[in-house]
Symmetry: C2
Amino acid sequence: MERFEINILGCGSALPTTKHSLSSQVVNLRDKLFMIDCGEAAQLQFRAMKLSFSRLDHIFISHLHGDHCFGLFGLISTLGMLGRTADLDIYAQPDAEKVFRPMLNYFCSELSYRVVFHAFDPKKNTLIFEDRTLKVSTIPLRHRVPTAGFLFEEKPKSPHIVREMLDFYQIPFSQINAVKEGADFVTPDGQIVPNARLTRPAEAPKRYAYCSDTIYYEKIIPIIENVDVLYHEATFCETRSERTKQTMHSTARQAAEIARAANVKQLILGHFSARITDENLLLKEACEVFPNTILAKEGLTVTVE
Amino acid sequence: MERFEINILGCGSALPTTKHSLSSQVVNLRDKLFMIDCGEAAQLQFRAMKLSFSRLDHIFISHLHGDHCFGLFGLISTLGMLGRTADLDIYAQPDAEKVFRPMLNYFCSELSYRVVFHAFDPKKNTLIFEDRTLKVSTIPLRHRVPTAGFLFEEKPKSPHIVREMLDFYQIPFSQINAVKEGADFVTPDGQIVPNARLTRPAEAPKRYAYCSDTIYYEKIIPIIENVDVLYHEATFCETRSERTKQTMHSTARQAAEIARAANVKQLILGHFSARITDENLLLKEACEVFPNTILAKEGLTVTVE
């Protein structure tokens, strides 16, 4: 099984507490790290979780509220002090470069690497990043400012070669890749061995959706349908539904309703209001609608499986 | 004894570690809080030390390196969310407003209070703040960018009235303030009681000097002479004197030499390089020159006495 993990660096809402830090998490896909949001002190949590700065090349910012991006300056400085040379790619809405670049020019003018901003339109569901194994696309959300969530999808994997068949037919090393990609094997005496005898199907590609911050927003359902793990904000309980509407956040119950309607496998609740003293109330509220729910917490690593 | 404390929020150098946070401290003078420097996550440490946000009105920034000021944005946002209405006064070199204001305009456009920048010339030793009980002046330092330390000085206090004398002469309430301010007391039958019989002298005003970041710089000695507590950066040990010069920092020994030459009462070392694994080496190096030295650490409160 190839590694696909979500590391929670911070899951508080705008007002940090002694219990919760500001929004940030790191998706670890086969030891490449992808940061989602970068609230203040994200770099400290990153280090505390013993993640490797040199494996981080891409940062996705959901929206330009300070609790989701004020940690960028410190992180960018630190990467410079660590002698980084590779580009750092930041995906955010178009304003980001305009507001961050002057600060970087002033404070980080001697960086040993480039910070490259990639603007996306948070109103559209579009592919914003892909490499050999991963696609990342935006999930339009509704909040007080333009906001997008992110869908991380593994690309389809090659089937597994059945070791015993490899030995039995003495398939030469040079042909293994072809077999992995679906070719039949022809033995030296002309016998055709169909690919299906030589391989077993790869695991289904795994998918992770990050949705924060947002009101209850049914339009995301078709985009996140059937994902393995959904992180959905749950800033408040249903008892504070007025405040939820006013601040354009979601309740735990609403997060669970989205999870159920989208038929996801697991739900992680996060972005907890500083006023919540007992998060088990959020968990209880969500589990009544969608039982396979857990609470995010700082330092937690969730395996997508 | 009136409270005069230094709370260490962070005492690492530019690269934070799991052990040390970024530069920030809070001077508590009679329950008014004055922040010096505001590195990333200062607000989190502030909360962890159970300091009261509503008692913080003044922030002094030594220089515009990120590790001394990137925490401002988060702190300013948080104060807004807490419903602050009083002005927040920030004392820094002239560039500060130019670089911070656009960020505040973007991220904190709906603040319930004003952020007022007060520019000072870091090359001059000048009074930049005073109120009824305190004076704060700049200490010109030498670093890679314009930098100033800060001298916190209590104003002279009124003498104490000797309770027994108050009773013995039945001094009326209305005259107590006059006596406190040095007046003699005249009894109803015309006897003059000299002030010295009625009072005992106040404690000497206490003084605290913060010097970070700086090279070994003897010109500060007359400014900080005889202070009760000196916080002086000690980024490296003498074994790394080349690196110390190159980055324009000080060694622990140099900090101690300044402390000894200035005849201070106590020295606190801080701003430790991330490369230092055993800070006791810094302490040992300093103590050889100036024995009354301690190491800063996060969460430490030092009483100025």
